[in-house]
C-alpha cells in the first residue's frame, strides 16, 4: 500500500533520549555528535571478568591513574562522530589523490634535485613505522579507555595514523620504489640515527596506562615530530632546496596535525582541569617522555638539518612547553 | 555442489553490476526481494571489471561494489580485474 503523506506539523512527544536529556535538559535537540557519543558505552551491571585482565571489569576507569567524576566531560572540539569524521577525511583524501596524480602525471619528482629527494626518502620512509606504532597505540587507547567521549576520537586518530603510514608508503613509491621502502625499513631497524626513536616507540607499545600513552604519543611524540618533519624540514628546508612540490605530498600531515592537536589539547586540558592530582600526573608524564622524545628525534633531525638540528629542536621544545603551559600542565624548568 | 551468492541493494549502479554478473555467469539464478537482489551461482561466481565498465560506460573500480553490497558467501579473491567468490580451492 502506497500512502501519500502530506507534510504536517506534528508535535513531538520529546526531543531526544532520556540519557541525553538528563545531561542537556529536555528542551534541547542534541547534535548528532552528542546523540552518538554521550553515555553509549555500557557501564552498569557488567558481566564476567575479562580473561585478559581478571582484576578489572570489562569497561573499567581504573586502567589509568587519571580520575574523572564524569568521563563524558571530554569533548572533541571537532565534534567527530563516525559520519562527520569519515566525510571530512574523504574530502581530504580526494585532495591528496589529485595532488599525487598531478605529481605523477607532470613528473614533478624529476624536478626535485637528487639530494633533496634522497633526504626526503631517508627521513620519511622510516616514519612509516612510527605512524604504524601510533596507530597501534591509539587503538589501545580506544580499547582500554573509558567513556566514548574519549575512546571514540582515539579510534579515529588510530585510523588517521594508518592513513598517514600508507600515504608515506605512497610517497616512497612516487619518489622511489619498493627498494627504497626496504631501505627505509632497514634503517629503522639498524641505522644508529634511528635507534633511540625506535627504542622510545617500542617502549610506548608496552605502556599500560592508556592516558599516559595518550600523553606520550599524541601530545609529546607527535607534538615534536610533526612540526619537525613536516613544518621545519619539508616545508622550510627541503622546499628551499628545490623540493617545493614535496610540500604538496605532505600537506595532509600538516593539516591533520593542527586539526588533531585541537582534540589532543582539549583532552589534556579537561583532564588537568579536573583535579590538581590529574594535572600533577600529566605534568610528570610529559616530563618523563619529553626529554627522551627530543633526544631521540635530534639525530633524525640532523639527517635533514645538519648542524642546525640542535637549535631547531630547542625551538620545538620551547613551543611544546608553551603549549603544555596553555593546557594547564606547565613543566617546571628543572623537570624539563 | 555448494552455491555462492552475492546480495546487492537495488539501485542504478547495482543494476549494472547485476547485468555484468549475468553476462559472465550463465548459471546465475536471480532472486529479487524488497530493496534487494540476491544472485546465486553454483560453486563459483566471477565479477569482471571490464564487463561492468561496458555496462556503466566509465572506468569502474571493483572496490566500488562495497558501496552497494549487502552480503556474500564463499571465499573472496580480489584483484584489479576480477572479484571472485568460490567454494572450490
Amino acid at each position: 500500500m502506497q500512502i501519500d503523506l502530506r507534510t504536517v506539523a506534528i508535535e513531538p512527544l520529546r526531543l531526544t533520549f532520556d540519557h541525553i536529556a538528563r545531561r542537556l535538559g529536555p528542551d534541547r535537540q542534541p547534535s548528532r555528535y552528542q546523540e552518538g557519543t554521550l553515555d553509549i558505552q555500557p557501564c552498569d551491571n557488567l558481566q564476567y571478568r575479562p580473561t585478559w585482565d581478571p582484576a578489572r571489569q570489562l569497561y573499567d576507569p581504573a586502567r589509568t591513574r587519571i580520575v574523572m567524576r564524569d568521563w563524558y566531560a571530554f569533548k572533541d572540539p571537532r565534534q567527530y562522530y563516525y559520519g562527520a569524521w569519515t566525510m571530512a577525511r574523504a574530502r581530504q583524501q580526494e585532495a591528496v589523490e589529485s595532488s599525487f596524480a598531478l605529481f605523477e602525471s607532470r613528473d614533478l619528482g624529476s624536478l626535485i634535485p637528487a639530494e633533496t629527494r634522497h633526504t626526503a626518502l631517508q627521513l620519511l620512509l622510516p616514519l612509516r613505522h612510527v605512524a604504524y606504532a601510533a596507530n597501534l597505540n591509539n587503538t589501545a587507547m580506544c580499547a582500554y579507555g573509558y567513556g566514548t567521549a574519549v575512546t571514540q576520537p582515539c579510534m579515529f586518530q588510530a585510523m588517521d595514523q594508518l592513513g598517514i603510514a600508507q600515504y608515506l608508503t605512497q610517497i616512497g613509491l612516487l619518489l622511489g620504489d619498493s627498494a627504497d621502502l626496504d631501505d627505509g625499513r632497514n634503517r629503522w631497524l639498524g641505522d644508529g640515527r634511528w635507534q633511540e626513536l625506535r627504542r622510545l616507540v617500542e617502549n610506548t607499545l608496552v605502556q599500560k596506562d592508556w592516558f599516559e600513552l595518550l600523553v606520550a604519543q599524541n601530545l609529546v611524540i607527535d607534538g615534536l615530530l610533526y612540526p619537525l618533519v613536516y613544518q621545519q624540514v619539508i616545508d622550510k628546508r627541503l622546499a628551499a632546496a628545490g623540493g617545493v612540490s614535496l610540500t604538496v605530498l605532505t600537506a595532509f600531515m600538516n593539516d591533520w596535525f593542527s586539526e588533531a592537536a585541537r582534540w589532543v589539547d582539549a583532552t589534556i586540558k579537561t583532564a588537568a582541569a579536573e583535579s590538581p592530582a590529574n594535572a600533577a600526573l600529566i605534568t610528570a608524564w610529559i616530563a618523563r617522555w619529553k626529554q627522551r622524545a627530543s633526544d631521540a628525534l635530534e639525530p633524525v633531525a640532523e639527517l635533514a638539518l645538519g648542524e642546525s638540528a640542535a637549535s631547531v629542536m630547542e625551538h620545538l621544545n620551547l613551543a611544546l612547553e608553551a603549549r603544555c603551559a596553555r593546557l594547564g600542565v606547565p613543566l617546571a624548568k628543572e623537570a624539563a | 555442489m555448494s552455491k555462492v551468492f552475492i546480495a546487492l541493494q537495488t539501485n542504478e549502479a547495482s543494476r549494472c553490476i547485476v547485468q555484468a554478473i549475468l553476462a559472465d555467469n550463465p548459471d546465475a539464478i536471480v532472486n529479487r526481494q524488497p530493496a534487494m537482489i540476491k544472485i546465486d551461482v553454483p560453486d563459483r561466481m566471477v565479477i569482471r571489471r571490464e564487463t561492468i565498465e561496458e555496462e556503466v560506460g566509465r572506468p569502474f573500480d571493483l572496490q566500488e561494489i562495497h558501496v552497494h553490497l549487502i552480503s556474500l558467501s564463499g571465499h573472496v579473491d580480489e584483484s584489479e580485474d576480477e572479484f571472485t567468490l568460490s567454494w572450490a580451492r
Binding site: A90, S178 | I70
Partner: protein
C-alpha cells in the same frame, strides 16, 4: 635524472607494502610483551605471514567508499524525518520491532566496536590487525547510524526513550548484553571466532537480510537504509571471519579441537540470541516476506552448510546443536511471542495477539506446529481479552544461567514439555534451558557463575528504584522495579490495543492523509 621507469605494482603487492610492510619484530621490547594476549588461549600460530587478506582496502579507499555510504544514508534519514516517514509504515505495531532493535542492537554494535579495537591492537599479524581496526570503526558506525535513524521515532513514540539505561538493566536485554560481554571478556582468538565467524558469518545474514528487507516491505525506509548500509560492511566482516578460521586451522592441527569447541559454543549462543529475531520476523512485521523457518532454511541450512562442507577438510564438524536447532525452528518464534505477550507488563514495547489472517499465515508456514500447539493458546488469550481480562504474567521467570533466556524452550522431541537442565557447582544449583547451555557452563563454571541474571538480582533487592524503601508500608516491588528500569507504566508497556502509540499514529496518519 635517475628516475627509473617504474613498474606498476599490482593491487596485492601494493597492499602488502601498505600493511604488513609497516610492521617489524621489536628488539628493545620482547614481542611477547608487545602482544601479551597471544599465548594464553593455547592457540598455536607459527607464521603470521601466511595470513591472506580477503579485502585489500587501504585507508584512502576506505574513507572514499565509507563516506559515500554515509552521505547516502544521512540524506535518507533526513528526508525520512522531514516527510514524517514514520507515518508511512504499514501498521503502528511494526514500530515495536524497532523498539526492541534500539534497546538491543546499538549496544551489541558498541561492544563489538570496543572488542575489535582490542583485537586491532592485540592480534600479532598486521593483516588481521588492520581488518579488526576497520571493523572496530565500522561497528561504531553501526551503533551511531542506528541511534541516529531511530532518534526520530523516539520523538513520536514511546518505549525508545531510555534505551541506553534499559540496555544495562531490563530483564530481556540481559540476553544480548551477556552474549557480547561474554565474547568481549574472552581471549582474542575466541572473540574473533565468536563474533566474526559464528555470529557474523553463520548468523547475521538471518538478522539483516530477511528482517531488513522486511523493514523495506513495511515502508520503513529509514531502518532499511541503515540496515543494508551496515550489512555492506558486514560482507567485509564475514569474510574476515572465514579467513581467520582458515588461518588458525592451517597453522597447526592442535588448534582444531579448541576451535571446534568455540564454534560449537558460539553457534549455540548465537542461535539462542536470535530467538528474538525469529519472533520479530514472524510476529512483529505486519507484512512478511518469509517466515523465520524459511529464512533459517535458506541462510543456515543451505548457505551455512556450504560453509561447513568447505571446512570439513580441516576436520571441522557441524556443531552438535544443529540437530536441536532443526527441531526448534518450528517452535521458536511462537514460544518467544507467547513469553513476551504474557510478560507484556514488563516490556518497553507493546504486544498483541495476531489477527485471524496472521494466524492463518503462521499456520501455512508452520503446518507441523502452529495449529497444534500455539493457535489454541493465542485464541484463549484473545477470549480473555474480549472478556476484559487481558492476561499478564507478573511472576519472575527462572532464567538460564548461560543464555539468560527464561525457561521457555521445549524438549526437542516433545513440544509440550519445557526443557530444564541443572548442575550443582560448589554447592549451588544452576539452571539451564538446554544441554548446550549446560555444557558451556560446565566447561567454564567460574566465568558463568558471575552472570548478572535480572530475575535473581530482583530477588536479591538489587533492582529497586534508588530511593525506594522496601521495608516501608505500601512498598510495591513491581512498580519499583519498573521504575528502576525507567519503563513508563501504561505508556511503554502493556497491550498495543488502547496504547498511546496506537492512538497517536491513527490521529497523525489521519491528519496527514486528509486534504
Amino acid at each position: 635524472m635517475d628516475m627509473k621507469v617504474k613498474k606498476k605494482l599490482a593491487l596485492k603487492e601494493k597492499f602488502a607494502l601498505m600493511t604488513r610492510g609497516l610492521a617489524w619484530e621489536t628488539s628493545y621490547e620482547p614481542m611477547e610483551a608487545v602482544y601479551p594476549q597471544m599465548a594464553y588461549e593455547g592457540l598455536r600460530i607459527h607464521n603470521w605471514d601466511a595470513w591472506e587478506d580477503p579485502f585489500r582496502m587501504t585507508m584512502d579507499a576506505y574513507w572514499k567508499y565509507q563516506a559515500e555510504k554515509e552521505r547516502k544514508l544521512y540524506a535518507i534519514i533526513d528526508a525520512f524525518a522531514q516527510n514524517n516517514g514514520h507515518l508511512g509504515v504499514t501498521d503502528a505495531r511494526y514500530i515495536n520491532a524497532l523498539k526492541i532493535f534500539l534497546s538491543a542492537v546499538p549496544m551489541l554494535e558498541y561492544n563489538a566496536h570496543r572488542g575489535f579495537a582490542r583485537l586491532g591492537r592485540e592480534m600479532r599479524g598486521v593483516g588481521p590487525q588492520i581488518a579488526c581496526q576497520m571493523q572496530a570503526i565500522d561497528e561504531l558506525r553501526h551503533a551511531q547510524t542506528q541511534i541516529h535513524s531511530l532518534s526520530n521515532y523516539n520523538r513520536f513514540y514511546n518505549g525508545f526513550h531510555d534505551w541506553k539505561h534499559m540496555s544495562d538493566r531490563v530483564w530481556y536485554l540481559s540476553v544480548p548484553k551477556s552474549f557480547f560481554e561474554d565474547a568481549c571478556t574472552c581471549g582474542p582468538f575466541e572473540f574473533i571466532i565468536a563474533i566474526s565467524f559464528s555470529f557474523e558469518y553463520v548468523l547475521t545474514n538471518l538478522v539483516f537480510m530477511p528482517f531488513i528487507s522486511g523493514a523495506a516491505y513495511n515502508g520503513d525506509l529509514g531502518a532499511m537504509t541503515f540496515g543494508f548500509s551496515a550489512q555492506s560492511d558486514e560482507a567485509r566482516h564475514m569474510t574476515l571471519g572465514l579467513e581467520v578460521i582458515k588461518f588458525m586451522l592451517e597453522q597447526d592441527p592442535a588448534n582444531l579441537p579448541i576451535i571446534q569447541r568455540w564454534i560449537d559454543k558460539w553457534t549455540w549462543r548465537g542461535v539462542r540470541l536470535l530467538t528474538i529475531v525469529a519472533m520479530l520476523m514472524d510476529y512483529m512485521l505486519p507484512k512478511r516476506i518469509m517466515s523465520w523457518k524459511e529464512a533459517w532454511e535458506l541462510y543456515f541450512e543451505e548457505n551455512g552448510m556450504a560453509l561447513f562442507n568447505d571446512l570439513a577438510r580441516y576436520g571441522i564438524k557441524l556443531p552438535d546443536c544443529t540437530e536441536l536447532i532443526r527441531k526448534e525452528k518450528d517452535h521458536l518464534s511462537h514460544q518467544a511471542w507467547n513469553a513476551f505477550y504474557t510478560a507484556g507488563m514488563m516490556t518497553n514495547f507493546h504486544t498483541w495477539i495476531p489477527t485471524p489472517e496472521e494466524m492463518d499465515w503462521l499456520a501455512s508456514k508452520y503446518p507441523d506446529s502452529f495449529d497444534q500447539y500455539y493457535r489454541p493458546r493465542f485464541e484463549h488469550y484473545r477470549e480473555l481479552e474480549k472478556a476484559g481480562k487481558r492476561f499478564y504474567n507478573t511472576s519472575l521467570p527462572q532464567l538460564c544461567q548461560v543464555c539468560q533466556i527464561p525457561m521457555l524452550f521445549t524438549e526437542g522431541d516433545d513440544p509440550t514439555q519445557i526443557a530444564y537442565r541443572q548442575v550443582t557447582h560448589q554447592g549451588d544449583k544452576y539452571h539451564f534451558c538446554s544441554d548446550y547451555c549446560r555444557d558451556i557452563f560446565t566447561h567454564e563454571p567460574d566465568k558463568y557463575v558471575e552472570a548478572w541474571l535480572p530475575a535473581h538480582q530482583i530477588f536479591m533487592g538489587n533492582c529497586f528504584n534508588p530511593g525506594d524503601d522496601p521495608s516501608a508500608a505500601g512498598f510495591d516491588p513491581k512498580k519499583s522495579v519498573l521504575d528502576y528500569w525507567h519503563i513508563a507504566f501504561g505508556r511503554d508497556n502493556m497491550d498495543f490495543e488502547g496504547s498511546e502509540d496506537q492512538k497517536n499514529f491513527a490521529a497523525w496518519r489521519d491528519q496527514a492523509t486528509r486534504n
